[in-house]
């Protein structure tokens, strides 16, 4: 696969697009899982659904954080417009990573289907 240069403007939208996909996946996955096989309310937050959502969240956060770091490195090596694009992308990746974590945190303590 051809590698997308870290100074490419597409990086401006990839981070939050990944965030959106993740968001759709957890919201949609939760809704479908609760419609198909809701766990007993007595289980609280310790259910398979929470587990899968939590793993997905952790993986997405890690991916976004890695991309943020890569873009930041690229920004250091560049000047002018490429630096601008890489730096803004790095900021956006970082924001996406933190957002993923922040939005996903409730899977730790909230029962899934009530």
């Amino acid at each position: 696969m051809m590698r997308l240069a870290l100074t490419h403007p597409l990086h401006l939208v990839i981070g939050l697009t990944l965030w959106s996909l993740w968001f759709v996946a957890i919201y949609g996955g939760l809704s479908v899982a609760c419609a198909v096989a809701p766990p007993a309310p007595a289980q609280g937050a310790l259910t398979a659904i929470n587990g899968v959502l939590g793993l997905l969240t952790a993986a997405t956060t890690a991916l976004l954080a890695w991309l943020a770091w890569a873009c930041l490195q690229a920004a250091r090596d560049e000047l002018g417009r490429p630096r601008f694009v890489a730096a803004v992308s790095a900021g956006l990746y970082l924001f996406s990573a933190v957002s993923t974590l922040f939005v996903g945190i409730p899977v730790i303590g909230v029962p899934p289907c009530l």
Partner: protein, 843 residues
């Protein structure tokens, strides 16, 4: 139009002006309906928006009159419900969005150093759709048939059973019509900003306002289609009886809420972003220094654009969604506070480090800040689920959203209007009357809505037509009503001030505020062509770099001077680097947009009065007009029959393979894709969540037939790609015959689909399943038909010589549609035929 050599030497500005005027000038009299120029149309958008704003304001005053005292009988409940529904609808759809679009249409080309938007006739179509749609919608008030289910039209209250009158139809058809306008403006603003910036204006040198408008336009493109889909579905339910939202037939009213808020929440940011763009433009000018943290602002804009699509469920916290899902949306809603706070502190730091002067526009900015921060804070509170459960649907929410919308849109808009007045009239605003207007508006607004928070906390629900003395709400309501009238007086004073200034305002000097952006290089007031010659930009502050630009551009000392070939020309540049790529020739004044919009208006009215055969005829007429409009393109004598350009200039876009039309097609398909994804969402939503969903054990659609149709479509699409690749190599052998053959393949797909639908014998008025299925089939059918029609026209155009190896542009645009059709068709086949077979009907 002689072909004189154009060099960078100064020429007689008057002669140049006359040359430009001849090509770019607007017709007068009845032919003014044909104008496509962005300056004129932007102004029309804004003036029309102001008229609707006044209508919406009068409706607001009627509401406040009714609620001023307890047990009032000023209006009957039926009329009151129509009034508040129309107040919300008019303000959101007929004022806020078109007004800001009008401002963007007016300002963006001037700011990025272009002479017009890239699809001027589309601007015109958008305006007429807006005007006709607005008139149709508002006329319902005078017929006493206005929609009365609240501006978000929750079904079943808005359904045929509980709203049998034509009110809901007025809303659904009128709003869909107006959204055509919003979408067309959205598409061309995106393409214009990406592809027509002047030389050297790379992505990092773009004015922040252009970033904001780019985000707004993309959000319109992605955010409006869900509502268009929902409106079409509800109208189909009302008119034909397809039960998308009827529980007993397997539909679900909550689907409407999802689709509505999927549009509705981004809409708030669609309104806020351009307003914030005004703030980010004005603050550096009045602080006398560049904005600090340009990159931070860009990050904030992009973040807002995305995150705002992940919040829609926070309008639905009380519908019984699982707590965990609510927590996701609650957290996402709070996240939006971060980019907003970044902007607020960027503005603060800019003022802090600059030498601010308190002119009238800045007063409005200050008012914006106070009101908007307050609205933002109550917004964060509302994102908290338990608090939301308490105040949802009370006057607290009414107060909150007026703080956000009036603070976040009206106040910056006023600041922007005062700031840019010289660019409308060539005159400066007054300081005195304007200040009175500001203070009355500001104080009146806070008197109305600050108190209303408290009324809401006391438990007063929204949308009640009266209340009793025992509730203890009367003094607060009275104060709110008085505040409302004070605010109206303030608005009236502002409008009076602006009207008077056209007559008595001091003539503006060049660049009166010492601004840094390119729109101030225009003459004041501007000409239809903006700039005689197009400057090259070296930083984010062209007017600070070279204050002499107004003179030197008028003298033709920069690029693309005059109109030597009698064409309307502007530069097409690389979206990232701002390097020149082509000369774009754009079309001139035309009747087609007006006629097409008029035909669509006839469709709208016919559907309202349920004259369906006539509506069908009008639809065909509209399609015919649009196709006839598309005929004047490429090497057509009315477009650009010859390809000459001045020495040193890049080639004409119609002689390349990557002109702005291709970008416009892609952005339009992005909107279309959003529509399609909303449809898929609806399908899967009903399948998994709808309480009484019924799905037959075997699909009623014939899989072999569907596969054959898919093969025909795929073969056509592949063939078309091959032809386009040939054109890329300057090879147009077999172009006409190939196009004809592809048309036949497209026709075969359409015929097979018609057969599939006919043979499936769907009970689309009985079950939601069959209704959704039919809707999806009709969607791919119409797309197949459009693809086939366009290739047929291409075959003809090859015959006429409008398309060839020298003019290879159009097939590439059509191929993009075929590519889209291909992907969508196979997804539909997989989602509605294969997946149910696979997973079984139950689920």
């Amino acid at each position: 139009m002689s072909e004189t050599a154009h060099t960078a030497t100064p020429q007689d500005p008057q002669r140049l002006h006359e040359e430009m005027q001849e090509v770019w000038g607007n017709p007068r009299g009845l032919k003014a309906l044909t104008i496509v120029n962005h300056t004129t149309l932007g102004l029309r958008f804004m003036v029309t928006g102001m008229v609707f704003f006044l209508i919406g304001g009068i409706l607001a005053m009627l509401v406040r009159t009714q609620l001023a005292f307890p047990d009032q009988e000023f209006m009957s409940p039926e009329i009151y419900n129509q009034v508040f529904t129309m107040h919300g609808t008019v303000m959101m759809f007929l004022f806020a969005i078109p007004m800001l679009e009008g401002l963007a249409i007016y300002m963006i080309p001037k700011m990025i150093g272009a002479r017009d938007l890239v699809c001027p006739r589309l601007t015109s179509l958008g305006y007429w759709c807006y005007l006709f749609g607005g008139i149709i919608l508002v006329s319902s008030l005078f017929l006493e048939m206005a929609p009365d289910s609240g501006w978000f039209m929750y079904t079943p209250l808005s359904s045929g059973e509980f709203a049998p009158g034509p009110g809901s139809d007025f809303w659904l058809l009128g709003i869909t019509f107006i959204e055509i306008s919003a979408l067309s403006a959205g598409v061309e603003l995106v393409v214009s900003i990406l592809r027509t910036r002047t030389r050297g204006m790379s992505l990092d040198k773009m004015p922040l306002f252009a970033w904001y408008i780019l985000a707004m336009a993309l959000m319109i493109v992605v955010g409006f289609p869900p509502l268009i889909l929902a409106s079409i579905m509800l109208e189909l339910e009302r008119a034909v009886g397809m039960p998308f939202f009827e529980v007993a037939a397997g539909g679900d009213p909550i689907l409407w809420q999802h689709l509505f808020w999927l549009f509705g929440h981004p809409e708030v940011y669609i309104i806020f972003l351009p307003a914030a763009g005004i703030v980010s433009t004005l603050i550096p000018v009045f602080a006398g220094r560049p904005i600090v943290g340009y990159r931070w602002v860009v990050v904030a804009i992009i973040v807002t654009g995305f995150i705002s699509f992940g919040l829609w469920v926070h309008h639905m916290f009380t519908v019984g969604i699982p707590q965990l899902a609510q927590a996701f949306f609650s957290a996402a809603s709070m996240l939006v506070a971060v980019p907003t706070a970044i902007q607020v502190f960027v503005w603060l730091a800019t003022l802090w480090l600059g030498r601010p002067v308190m002119k009238l526009p800045m007063l409005w900015i200050l008012g914006f800040l106070i009101i908007f921060v307050c609205g933002g804070l109550t917004g964060v509170m509302l994102a908290l689920v338990p608090f939301n459960w308490q105040v949802h649907d009370t006057h607290f929410v009414v107060a909150h959203m007026h703080y956000v919308l009036v603070g976040g849109m009206l106040f910056p808009l006023m600041a922007g209007l005062y700031y840019w007045l010289p660019l409308f009239s060539g005159r400066m605003p007054s300081e005195r009357l304007g200040r009175w207007g500001f203070w009355l508006t500001f104080l009146g607004f806070n008197a109305t809505f600050l108190i209303m928070h408290w009324t809401g906390l006391l438990g007063m629900p929204r949308r009640i037509y009266t209340y009793e003395t025992v509730m203890g709400w009367e003094i607060f309501n009275l104060l709110s009503s008085i505040g409302g009238f004070v605010m109206s007086a303030g608005i009236a004073m502002v409008l009076l001030d602006i009207a008077l200034h056209f007559r008595f305002g001091r003539p503006a000097p060049r660049n009166p505020w010492n601004a840094d952006t390119l729109e101030w290089a225009n003459t004041l007031p501007p000409s239809p062509y903006n700039l005689v010659s197009l400057p090259t930009v070296h930083s984010r502050h062209p007017m600070w770099d070279d204050p002499d630009l107004p003179r030197s551009t008028a003298a033709g000392e920069h690029g693309l001077p005059g109109a030597p070939f009698g064409r309307r020309e502007l530069w097409g540049s690389d979206p990232l680097t701002g390097k020149l790529r082509e000369v774009i020739h754009i079309p001139t004044s035309s009747w087609w947009p007006f006629l097409a919009a008029a035909a669509l208006a006839v469709v709208c009215v016919c559907l309202l009065v349920r004259m369906y055969p006539l509506a069908g005829i009008a639809t065909l007429t509209a399609v015919g007009l649009l196709l006839r409009w598309s005929w004047e393109n490429g090497a057509h004598p009315r477009a650009a029959p010859d390809a000459r350009v001045a020495p040193g200039e890049p080639p004409l876009h119609s002689r390349t393979m990557d002109g702005p039309g291709l970008w416009a097609m892609s952005i339009a398909l992005l909107a279309n894709g959003s529509f399609f994804l909303s449809y898929l969402f609806g399908w899967f939503y009903l399948w998994t969540v709808s309480p009484e969903w019924r799905m037959p054990d075997t699909s009623p659609l014939s899989l072999p037939m569907m596969l054959m149709a898919g093969v025909a479509l795929s073969a056509g699409a592949v063939w078309l790609e091959k032809l386009v690749n040939g054109l890329r190599r300057q090879d147009d052998r077999g172009l006409a015959s190939g196009m004809l053959a592809i048309t036949l393949l497209g026709g075969a797909q359409v015929a097979l689909l018609v057969w599939v639908i006919w043979q499936a014998d769907l009970a689309a008025t009985e079950t939601a399943h069959d209704a959704v299925l039919l809707l999806g089939l009709i969607y791919v059918l119409l797309h197949g038909a459009l693809g086939a029609t366009l290739t047929l026209l291409q075959a003809l155009r090859v015959g006429y010589g409008y398309v060839s190896a020298e003019v290879p542009f159009e097939p590439a645009v059509v191929a993009r549609l075929w590519r889209y059709n291909l992907v969508v068709y196979w997804i539909v086949l997989f989602a509605v035929v294969v997946m149910p077979m696979w997973l079984g009907g139950g689920a």
